[in-house]
């Protein structure tokens, strides 16, 4: 098995706010991320696909295809957007790194037909990231 990783970057804004919490609770739990006007990050996304190289092409999957999937599913949805208000998949969720990474996993997984999605790593800053993997016993076969 070979792992192939492609990286993209996008810029987006967000804020953390739970309408079920009081204003004090929101400030206490989310700190400066609770600023009502939001704030932004340069996100870096690393998408890793696992598979065997095709004997004819030598590829796990064509990088052009992966680039197009990432452009359509992630860049067009999230780049230069306010994640709370403009990304329907995140509606009703706090757009933390954990939740955004999971939304991206769920968007990409059904679209990757050659090889198998192995890992989604989303960096919010160089020192903070979330990883998603396939859960359960089929993870090892990925």
């Amino acid at each position: 098995m070979v792992l192939l990783t492609r990286k993209i970057e996008f810029a987006a804004s967000h804020l953390y706010h739970n309408p079920d919490f009081s204003p004090e609770e929101n400030r206490r739990v989310f700190g400066k991320c609770n600023n009502p006007h939001g704030h932004g990050h340069n996100y870096t996304l690393e998408v890793t696909v696992a598979g065997e190289p095709d004997p004819v092409t030598g590829m796990v999957l064509d990088l052009k295809d992966l680039k197009e999937i990432l452009e359509r599913e992630v860049m067009q949805r999230m780049d230069h957007r306010f994640l709370n208000y403009e990304v329907p998949e995140l509606a009703g969720q706090i757009p933390t790194c954990e939740n955004i990474a999971r939304v991206i996993w769920n968007l990409l997984d059904p679209k990757i037909k050659q090889g198998r999605l192995h890992r989604v790593r989303l960096y919010e800053t160089p020192d903070l990231f979330a990883d998603c993997y396939r859960n359960g016993s089929d993870r090892a076969q990925a």
């Binding site: 953390y16 739970n18 079920d20 919490f21 739990v29 989310f30 700190g31 509606a91 009703g92 969720q93 706090i94 757009p95 933390t96 790194c97 954990e98 939740n99 990474a101 999971r102 939304v103 996993w105 769920n106 890992r119 790593r121 160089p126 020192d127 903070l128 990231f129 979330a130 990883d131 998603c132 993997y133 396939r134 859960n135 359960g136 993870r139 090892a140």
Partner: protein, 151 residues
Amino acid sequence: MNSGTHIGAVKTELGRRYHFAASHRLHNSDLSEEENNRLYGKCNNPYGHGHNYVLEVLVSGKVDPATGMIANLADLDGFVQREVLEPFDHKSLHEDVEAFRKTVSTTENLCIEIFRRLKPFPKANLERIRVQETSNNSFEYAGDNPEGFEG
């Protein structure tokens, strides 16, 4: 708050990087000077030397629908600060940290010691750690957890 779809199908981990600077000397007092010198080379310099270490901590757990978080970063940062950064940052590992008075402070042993210190984090499950000694050397440790490296 909505917890998202396919929650059972995806395992999510939170990764956080920390930085500390420390000095050390690789030296095993059970070995002769010549053996130490042969084994550890310039790392055996009696006055020690230092590194800018990067510590990567990966934790897993349920993403709380109310907060969107596996663990609140303030809790994780505070725990790592107290357990690792305060005792290690700007210290001489083999002189200031009890664990390395007898155990050689290679980055392998540093990983094991840091993992031991962080494993009791109460708010999430420690999956593994990675310590980068220089931009060319890094080491990972997942304790006894065979799945710790699988994600």
